[in-house]
């Protein structure tokens, strides 16, 4: 499971002005993810730990906060190529700070500041969004404080995020398209794989190729009844069909997905 907590920056902080605390709010989201739900904190608490009461904060300061909290597996890139971030997010095992300049988000449906903010900002990326081509984003301004203010995590187009990241203001010049200042969490632990079992095809079947997102071995080439497989018992929905993954150790069709209704599971493999 992905540990996810939305943290707003406007939390009534008296240590330092809330309008400066977006990076601290993202760090609170980052810490929850990085600690697998063990560290639950606030924007204001993070800000206080920085002992910095001047203007905003940066990724270097957040790294120090993380280390002080006992999280040493994160990685700051100043900068990363965009592909590094896309690889990490696509794996569903990393969250990340993402520094941006806001002006390209301003005025869009995702704008949490009603057109009045254009400057450098920080977002927390939690993972892929529900819609293709989007990421699930915690903008710490998304607290629903006005009727038109987004509330909580939003699915934002990756193309827009990429443009905003490359637009980050580095003291009068933009970072550059295709680059991003990011601070990745440590990878989430691998979940325990479901048991491997012997399986037998009981109806002629196609299998799903997850690389090309297509069914293969259809019609006359359908996989024959009696074909032995080794499957894992987890259910994955592929091509709108409930399937078992065929284990890499399977003597036939490794790494494809087979419809559950077309196989009979047997003994542990």
């Amino acid at each position: 499971m992905v540990y996810e907590l939305f943290v707003k920056q406007l939390d009534g902080c008296t240590y330092h002005a809330q309008g400066d605390n977006c990076t601290c709010a993202c760090e609170a989201m980052w810490l929850f993810r990085a600690s697998q739900g063990k560290i639950k904190t606030t924007s204001c608490a993070v800000r206080t730990k920085t002992q910095d009461r001047v203007d905003g904060t940066n990724l270097g300061q957040m790294e120090i906060v993380s280390l002080a909290a006992g999280i040493d597996g994160g990685r700051v890139y100043r900068p990363a190529g965009w592909d590094t971030l896309t690889t990490a997010i696509a794996s569903r095992r990393y969250g990340s700070h993402l520094n941006i300049r806001y002006r390209k988000l301003s005025g869009t449906r995702y704008d949490c500041f009603h057109g009045a903010f254009k400057g450098n900002h920080d977002l927390f990326i939690s993972g892929p969004g529900r819609l293709s081509g989007t990421w699930r984003v915690g903008d710490p301004g998304a607290d629903g404080r006005r009727e038109t203010t987004p509330d909580g995590f939003q699915d934002i187009p990756v193309s827009l995020l990429k443009a905003c990241a490359g637009d980050l203001d580095l003291g009068g010049h933009p970072l550059g398209f295709g680059r991003a200042y990011i601070y990745l969490t440590p990878p989430d632990p691998r979940t325990t794989a479901s048991p491997k079992v012997h399986a037998t095809v009981i109806h002629p079947t196609s299998v799903w190729n997850d690389g090309t997102k297509r069914w293969v071995y259809g019609g006359a080439n359908a996989i024959k009844i009696g074909t032995p497989l080794i499957c894992r018992t987890a259910t994955y929905v592929k091509g709108n069909v409930a399937c078992y993954p065929i284990d890499p150790s399977s003597p036939n069709y490794p790494r494809y997905f087979v419809p559950k209704v077309n196989v009979k599971l047997g003994a542990a493999a």
Partner: protein
Amino acid sequence: MTEDPNPPVDDEPADTLPEVELPQNDPADDPKNDTIPEDAL
């Protein structure tokens, strides 16, 4: 239909990411976030 020429992907993602893939900027070039103006709050 014959076997698809494109091999399926393994759903096990890699643990490792590039240590350094671009020249890293100096930590001094680590901009603080800007202040959200009052009228946006």
